[in-house]
């Protein structure tokens, strides 16, 4: 079929992946592939459902950037802390959060981890230690730094991983978090996904730097820039950074060069950028590049791919059903969990005392 052909041969030779994935068994290579593809397919399906008006709000597509967070999230222990940003679907799928929670989140339904009160499309799950991301840019960076501090203080072996975009690196909180982590050599890996744009802002208006790894030069820990669409390089770099963090050697900042294929959100026509630019980056699609690598290494063949696709298809189908059948939250369901303790004077409020309230 045409699609499969495309995934195998559509990119120029120079984008062919080479080298070894350190310490990665064939089995895990394949599982990683499945998570990547699942992330892609899930995202594509959500976009379609959004255009069909099946859920409200908007949708932030991550297509094109999957390798940046799936690859590192996949390597984490369940108790490791993940601080995703607004586009980090792969932080959840990479770590193995079942898709049904993610669809329920997108649909803002009762069965999302927050019961539909928090923003759609902000994927998280408390049991998987993927934090509820902050819409407010780079707040998660500070929170993840705090988690890394907590692990260190409590003498736990876990690490934290935080994600942000190129645009987010201009925010004051980016600086305060990195600086603190540098001073205290916290067990954390910072991932900056440089997709060249922050909404409509070109990266040249975010920073005078060409390579964002130099942000780390200000904090006294290593920074490195890699091709975030190269699963092999991403694997090896993140693996090393995680080992550094776990060994007590401190933080690493990794700039991953990547690209979002679609608009900032799905209501953004993204006409601030050229078709050529988009085409150039689609050629560097991380998934077919990795697929070919797996085929070359005899880890994947047509049969296996069919199986993988079927499993993904089934999970997505089920997850969409789950969300669509999950009730919309009761109108006043948000009136809980403001405080953990009870206070005599606290009231949610009553707009029409004595009368019928809505």
């Amino acid at each position: 079929m045409a699609e499969e052909q495309e995934t195998q041969f559509s990119f120029p030779a120079k984008y062919r992946l080479t080298g070894e994935m350190e310490g990665c068994t064939d089995e895990r290579k394949l599982e990683l592939f499945e998570r990547l593809l699942k992330t892609r397919e899930f995202d594509a399906r959500m976009r379609k459902l959004f255009r069909q008006g099946r859920f409200e709000g908007t949708f932030y597509s991550q297509i094109g950037q999957e390798a940046c967070d799936v690859v590192i999230a996949y390597q984490l222990d369940k108790q490791d802390f993940v601080g995703p940003s607004h586009r980090d679907l792969g932080a959840s799928t990479g770590k193995g959060v079942p898709l049904k929670y993610l669809t329920a989140q997108v649909y803002n339904r009762v069965d999302s981890p927050d019961g539909g009160r928090y923003t759609a499309c902000h994927y998280w799950h408390p049991e998987f230690w993927v934090m509820n991301p902050s819409t407010s840019i780079v707040m998660n960076w500070i929170a993840a730094t705090g988690a890394a501090f907590g692990y260190k203080m409590l003498k736990k072996d876990n690490v934290a991983v935080a994600f942000c975009g190129d645009g987010a690196t201009a925010h004051g909180d980016f600086h305060e978090a990195c600086n603190f982590a540098g001073v205290h050599r916290l067990p954390i890996v910072y991932v900056v996904q440089n997709n060249l744009w922050a909404e409509s802002l070109p990266v040249a208006l975010t920073t005078a730097l060409t390579d964002l790894n130099h942000r780390a030069d200000a904090y006294g820990f290593p920074g490195v820039s890699i091709d975030g669409n190269d699963v092999v390089e991403t694997w090896n770099t993140t693996r090393e950074a995680l080992m550094r963090a776990r060994s007590g050697a401190g933080p690493t900042l990794i700039e991953m060069k990547t690209y979002r294929w679609h608009g900032h959100s799905d209501i953004d026509p993204a006409d601030y950028r050229s078709d050529d630019e988009v085409a150039h980056w689609m050629e560097r699609d991380p998934i077919p590049r990795y697929e070919q690598y797996l085929r070359e290494h005899k880890v994947l063949n047509d049969d296996a791919l069919v199986e993988v696709r079927m499993r993904i298809e089934a999970e997505i189908e089920e997850a969409v059903d789950f969300a669509e059948n999950s009730p919309r939250p009761a109108p006043d369901a948000y009136q809980s969990h403001v405080y953990a303790e009870a206070y005599p004077g606290f009231e949610f409020g009553d707009r029409n005392p004595g009368g019928a309230n809505g």
């Binding site: 539909g116 923003t119 759609a120 819409t135 004051g172 919309r328 109108p331 004595g354 809505g358």
Partner: protein, 327 residues
């Protein structure tokens, strides 16, 4: 003379005032190339170029704070915060520097800064795209806050704010952007006075005090109640800081009853300040408890079912007004 929307009134006024005064510049996120996430700044980059229409990095503290130095050397800055929800990183610069600098320098440097701030719920955005944060700034002498509730004032208050020598937070309600349309004559240069509330509708039974989107709901509620013979006086505050006490007090002297309406959570909202003024300065004129119809004391929820529940409604306002009249 053409009908234009609230957001187009903003856009047009920005064009006009930036043409009028070459020391103005606009800085914000996605305000240039994109023309603003709501298109409020559409066409400005093309007209005024990148020196005066600055697409800022995601640095709200810088956006708000850099205006102080720029104003000192002779500019008239027009910063924009993309969503009111993201004004909190700029809070420090606004309350400590922008608002106090004129006082601190005993008048040596005026701060003719207008910071635009799209706020409010009802647009399906969840907790970080729906907040009404004006109350955070009420305890900040030196700061001016205006909040247009009509197309005329969207233009008139913005024009006045830009020409003012004081720092003004201009609260524009996202739900009014395209839902509100009105005539705005070409070339109109109306300056809505800052610091003056307006009795937008007269009535003798009860006073509804509000601003922005909920002011429009108050007008609706007043229409509904008129059918039952209840005459509601509706006050559009327009300026939130410093509040126009006398217009409100005069109205209460007439009606004896006050219902204050806003969208932010009730506790700590600006309704408290208004109620306190009335309870202090026209206590003897009041003949019913002062009621506040406001947002619930929680964060703003995302799912549509909950969002609808969260927003004050015309029916609830009407019910509160009726209860006050029947007291």
């Amino acid at each position: 003379m053409a009908e234009i929307t609230y957001i187009d009134a903003i856009n047009r006024t920005l064009h006009e005032e930036m043409t009028r005064d070459e020391t103005t510049f606009l800085i914000g996120e996605d305000t240039g190339i994109y023309g603003g996430v709501f298109k409020a700044t559409r066409g400005l980059l093309e007209e005024f170029g990148p020196d005066r229409i600055v697409d800022s990095p995601i640095s709200e503290s810088l956006i708000a704070g850099m205006t102080v130095g720029a104003a000192m050397v002779g500019c008239r800055p027009l910063p924009e915060i993309q969503f009111a929800d993201f004004i909190s990183p700029a809070f420090d610069q606004i309350v400590q520097q922008v608002a106090r600098y004129y006082w601190r320098t005993r008048g040596a440097f005026e701060m003719p800064i207008t910071l635009r701030c799209p706020y409010g719920g009802g647009v399906g955005g969840g907790v970080f795209h729906s907040q009404s944060n004006e109350a955070w700034f009420m305890n900040t002498p030196g700061l001016v806050m205006v909040a247009p509730g009509s197309v005329r004032d969207a233009a008139g208050l913005l024009r006045s704010a830009i020409r003012s020598q004081d720092p003004v937070l201009y609260w524009e309600h996202k739900k009014l952007y395209r839902s509100l349309k009105d005539d705005l004559p070409d070339g109109d240069e109306t300056l809505t006075p800052i610091g003056k509330a307006e009795v937008a509708r007269t009535g003798s039974h009860v006073t509804a005090i509000s601003f922005g989107y909920t002011y429009q709901l108050c007008l609706e509620a007043a229409d509904q109640l008129a059918e039952d013979g209840i005459e509601v006086e509706v006050i559009d505050l327009k300026t939130l800081l410093p509040l126009d006490k006398s217009t409100v007090i005069e109205s209460i002297a007439k009606t004896g009853k006050a219902v204050i309406v806003h969208e932010a959570p009730k506790v700590g909202g600006i309704g408290g300040e208004i109620a306190a003024i009335l309870a202090e300065e026209c206590f003897w004129e009041l003949d019913a408890p002062i009621t506040r119809v406001a947002g619930y004391n929680t964060s703003f929820p995302a799912a549509r079912t909950m969002e609808e529940h969260y927003m004050p409604s015309t029916a609830q306002i009407a019910a509160a007004l009726k209860t006050a009249v029947e007291t």
